[in-house]
Amino acid sequence: MQQVLSIINKEVKLEWRNKTAFNSIVLYLVSTIFICYLSFNVKTGQMQAVTWNALFWIIIVFANINGVAKSFLQEGEGRMLYYYTLCKPQVILSGKLIFNILLSVLIAIIGFVVYAIILGNPVVNHVYFLLTILLASIGFAGILTLVSGIVSKANNSTALLAVLSFPILLPILMIAIRLSKNAIDGIDASLMNEKLFTLLSVDAVVIATAYLLFPFIWRS
């Protein structure tokens, strides 16, 4: 537990010292949203709900791939070996995973706020919308952490990362899009609980398999 905390601490400090990484994600989000605003050429709040929703999730997914995916790619060969001698693979994964979940949730919330200011906010049921964002971010972080670990072992990393993670992100993305559409329409909560539960169980499956499989990547 102590080790997990110190890994998270190290990641946060690293991020805090050279804010370039975090700032670049925020700038990426803001400029993508602004590009969308300019290219759709609609006044605030006039975009159709379906388009609004789809665009939001596309932006979030790409920002996640840019931001979260670097977790293992930025580690040098030497530092990996140093970690390897210090602690168990589960500890490394927990540290990285918790940090990535925090980062991913932060990306989604900042994205939502900026997006809502520039393109309007049609959401009716905010509680469920934010719950969807939270659960989807956990799933994204789980998948991207493991895929980033996989890709760090293969060469030509960045291109491979996108190709490997897109198709496995899709199930979570599809449930999330459907849920957030329901939250925008303000459908009765009892109809959404089932989908929310499905999203939660997919997250659980993703994280459980990540824990089972990570030691094998780590050992090589």
């Binding site: 998948i143 493991l146 895929v147 996989i150 072992k153 293969a154 060469n155 030509n156 491979l160 190709v163 490997l164 897109f166 198709p167 496995i168 899709l170 199930p171 979570i172 599809m174 449930i175 459907r178 089932e194 989908k195 499905t198 169980s201 997919v202 499956v205 993703v206 398999t209 990540a210 089972l212 499989l213 094998f216 990547i217 090589s220």
Partner: protein, 219 residues
Amino acid sequence: MRKRWWKILGVALVFYTLIGGLLMEAPRLAILNETIRAMHFHVPMWFGMIIMLTASVVYSIRYLKTGNLKYDTYAIELVNTSILFGLLGLATGMIWAHYTWGAAWSGDPKQNGSAIGLLIYFAYILLRNSIVDSQQKAKISSVYNIFAYATLIPLLFILPRLTDSLHPGNGGNPGFNAYELDGRLRMIFYPAVIGWTLIGVWLTELRIRLSIIKTKIDE
């Protein structure tokens, strides 16, 4: 696996499916009519694909447990055959959908799900090609194979159930669910599933033998 009887059985069952599926009497259902015969050729592709993908995951797990490269060869060749079955399933489905639903691609959840599934396994092959060292390749791609399978299952079995599908038997369409699957259909459908799967296994076995011989020659 060297025995001959199951290969003969597979060929016999596929021939039986071809003749029976096309010529024997089929029940008449609204909308579907004679196109119901497509079921004997389209649905077994998906059954075969899922069975072989499951086997592939089992071999990937066995590889990670033992470190024996033979199991990794089994896993990749099973995935290769599954991709062939998946493409055939998609093609037969699109031909059928062109006449029954009016368009080859109608954005049906099952159709989308299977397309995404194929993308996942194309990515798997891409990953294998980008790693040179064979032990490393086997280990990393086994991990990806298991992880991909874990996300494929909700995609194919849970997502389509959250929305209405155009497929027969879903969302009030006439079709062949548990009690409607007519005795006349069942007589051909079950042998068809077994027959096509056996043919797929045979294909895989040949490819495994080929790749083992190739690695021996390279050494």
